[in-house]
Amino acid sequence: MSDSSGELFRFEEKVLEKAQKIVENEKYQGNPLYKKYKSLMRMYKKLLFQSQKILKISDNNQEKLRKTQQNLALLLNNVKQGFLTFGEDFKISPEYSQECKNIFGQDIAGRDIYELLFKKSDSDAEKDILNSIFQDDQSRIKLYLPLLPQEIELNQKLLKIKYKYIEQEHKIMCIITDITEKRELENELEKERKNLKMTVTVISNQGIVKKYVNDYRHFFNHIIYEWFKEYGNQTILENLYRKIHTYKGVFSQWGMRNSSESLHKAEDKINDFQEENPSPETREIKKFISTIDFNGFIDQDIEIIEQILGENFLDREKSVSVKKDDIVELKERIKDYFPEGEREQMVTKIDKLIKKSLRDLIDIYEEYTFELAERVGKKLEQFKIESDGVLVDENKFHDLNKSLIHIFRNSIYHGIEKPEGRLKKGKPEGGSVKCKIGEEKGNIYITIRDDGQGINVDKIKKLAIDKNIYSENEIEDLSRNEILRLIFFDQFSTEEEVNQTAGRGVGLASVKREVEKLGGNISVETKLDQGTEITIIIPQEKRVAQKDEINMNMLMEKLEKKFVQYIGDNLELEPDQKNIQLNQIEQLELSDFNVITNIRFKNLYDIIFSVDKKAAQILVENFIDKHLDLNKMDQKKAIIRESLKEIMNIIIGQFFKSLEEEEGCFEKAPMAIAVEGGLLDYKNNEIIKHKFSINQGLVNLNLIARN
C-alpha cells in the first residue's frame, strides 16, 4: 500500500524534493521571499503527509470492508440455513445463501416467491396473504407473517421457514431450514419411545395382557364362527363392531397403537360394509370377515414386545415370562430414550412388577364406567378411587378384578338414576362411583359405592317368593341383610327380569365366586335413594388355589389328550370339542352314565366321566364289538357300566403314563353309576369342565379338586 501511495504521490513528492533543494541552496537564502518560500514548502510537506495518511486510513477501511464482506459471503455460503429476501414484486433478491441452492436445486434469483415456495400447498391462502402484506401499512406487516406457513414440504424435503420483515429495505426475509432428517430422527425416536412405553405397560399388566391377547385370538379364530349359529346377520355385525371397539380401547390403553389403529380401520370397514350391504347374507358376512386379517392386527405390536422381552413372552403356560437380563436391558434403553423425570417413572413401573398396586388394577374401570354411563344416557360426575397404596399379586387378583366389572356395570345400569330423575330427588345431576381400597388386620378391603337409587328390598323379597326360593313364611324370618345377600346368588342373578325390576343382578354371583375363591367375603348395604355400597374383604395370607389351577390346567390338558387319542384310535373319529371352563361348583349335574374315580397327583382330584345314552352306545358298541339296541338299553345297563369303567381305566392309565415329573395313582378304583338327574354335592370346589360331542353323543370330562 505504501508502494501504491508512493506511486500515487510521485509528482507531489518530486515537487517537494525540488523545493527542499531550493531551500537548502545557499544562493536563495538572502532572497526576501526565502522565508515565505520555506514556510510554504513546510506547509506543502505537511499537506502531502496528511494526504498520504488519509489515503492509508481509507485503504485500511476498504480492506476491512472487503474482509467483512468476504466473511459474510463465507457465512452465507456455508451456513446450513437458506436465507433469501423478497420485496413488493415478490421476486427473490440475488443475495441469498448457498444453502438455498441445495434446498431448491436451482438458482433462485429473480424467481417468484409464491411459485417457488407456496404453490404446492393446499390452498390459495398464501397468495392472499402475500398480496395483502405489502398493501398494508409498513408497521403492520409483521401481523401477517405468522399466517404464512411455518413448515412446508417441497421436493420431498421438509422445510421450516421463519419470516422477518427488514424495515430498511422494505423486504421480507425467509430463513429456511431443512428439517427432513431431523424430523425423521425425531419420528424414529418417538417410535422407539412409544415401543418402550408399550413394553413397560405390557409387562406391568402382563397377566391381563396375556389374557386379552389369548381371548382376542380365540375370539377371532373360533368364537366368531360360533356366533353364526346363535345370532342373526345384523346382530353379528353389530356385536362384532362392539367387540372390536372394546379390543381397540383395551389395546390402545396399553399403548399397542399398531393394533388399535388396525382395529380402528376394521371398524371403518364394517361401517362401509354395512352401508353397502343393508341386509347382507350369512355367506357375504363370512366372506367379508375372512378378508380382515384380525390375527395380523396384533402381530406387529407383539413382535415389538417380543423383540424386547424375548419370544414367548405371551406364552400361556409360563407364569413368569420375562428374563431378568431383558428387564435390565429394558431399563438401560429407557435411560437412553427418555428424559429425566419420565425415565424414573417408567423404571419405578418396572420395579413394581412383582407386586402391583390394587388401585392400578381397578383403575382400568374408570374409562369403562364413564363410557357406559354415557352410552345408557346417565351422567357420571365422579369416579374416584381412594387407596392407601395396597400392593397385590396381579395374578392372584386378576379374576376378582375382572369380575368387578359387574359391580360397576350395576352401579351405572341400576344404581345411578337418569339426570332428570336425580334432579327430581334433589340430588346433583351427575352421579358418583367411589371406590375405597385399604388394608386392615391382615385383610384387604374394597368398597365400591354409588349414590344411586339403592336396592328395593321389598322387590327382592317378592322375587324370591315368585321364584320359589323361599315361601312367604320363610322370608319373613330372614333378616334384611339375608334378603339383600340374595342378589349374590346364581338363581337370583341370572334372570333378566331381576335385572329390570329389582335393580340389581346379573353377574354379582360371579363376583361372589371370585371373592370366595380368594377366601374372602362380600356384603352389601343399601339405602333407598341414597345409594348402594358393596364391600369385599380378602384375607392377605390365604393360600390361593393359584398353583393348583396351573396344576389342574396341565392335568386336564393331558387327560383330554388321552381321551381324544382313545376316540381317534378306536372309533376313528375326532371328537368335537365344545368348550372348556374353569369354575367353582357346589353341585355337579350327572349325565345318563357316569364313571367316577379319585386320583392323586400332588393333590386329590375327582375325575368324572359323564356320557349320555347316545355317546354311551357309541363307545360301548365299539368296546364290546356288538350292536346295542337302544330300546333294550335297560337290560344292558350293567354291560354299559362295566364297559365304560374299562374305557375310563384305559384312558386314565394312559394319562398316568403321560405325567412326567411325578407319578399319579388311583386313590379309588373307578366306579360307574347310571342315574337320571343325579347330582353330586361339592363345596365350592374348583372344577375344569370339558365338553365333547361324538356323533351327536355328549361327553363331559370333569376334573375336580378335592380340597
Binding site: 391462502a125 392472499d128 395483502s132 398494508d136 403492520r140 401477517y144 405468522p146 399466517l147
Partner: protein
C-alpha cells in the same frame, strides 16, 4: 389504567381472557357474548381495548370489528383466534384489526400483543 371490553360467546373463554388482562393491569369495564352486545358495551364504556372472538353467533367477529372500526377509530381491537382460522385472521387484519391472539391464551403472548397495541405503559403487572 387502560380499560378493556372482552367479547366472546364462550363464558369460559371470557373468564380466561379477563383473568389474563386483569393480571396485566387492565381494567375490565365490560363483557359481551355477541357482536351486538359488544357495540352497546363500547358505546357505554368507551374502552381503550376490545378483545374480540373471531367466531361468534349473531354477529360474526369480523362484522363486529368493521362496525367498531367505523364508530371508534381510536379503539384498539385485538382478535382472539385459533391458528386454524387463518383465512379469517387475514380478513380481520385487512379489516383493520390491530392485532390478534392465538389460542390457547397465554399470558406471555397477551402481554406481547398488548405492548404492541397499547404500548408498554399500558401494562402494570404489579396490579
Amino acid at each position: 389504567m387502560a380499560s378493556a371490553v372482552v367479547v366472546d360467546d364462550n363464558f369460559i373463554m371470557r373468564r380466561k381472557v379477563k383473568g389474563v388482562l386483569k393480571k396485566l393491569g387492565l381494567q375490565i369495564v365490560g363483557e359481551a357474548k355477541n357482536g351486538i352486545q359488544a357495540l352497546e358495551k363500547c358505546e357505554k364504556t368507551d374502552p381503550d381495548l376490545v378483545t374480540l372472538d373471531i367466531h361468534m353467533p349473531e354477529m360474526d367477529g369480523i362484522q363486529c370489528l368493521k362496525k367498531l372500526r367505523d364508530k371508534f377509530p381510536d379503539l384498539s381491537v385485538v382478535m382472539i383466534t385459533s391458528l386454524s382460522q387463518k383465512e379469517k385472521v387475514l380478513k380481520a387484519i385487512k379489516s383493520g384489526a390491530d392485532h390478534y391472539i392465538v389460542k390457547p391464551i397465554e399470558e406471555e403472548n397477551v402481554r406481547d400483543v398488548l405492548v404492541e397495541t397499547l404500548g408498554e405503559e399500558a401494562i402494570d403487572e404489579s396490579a
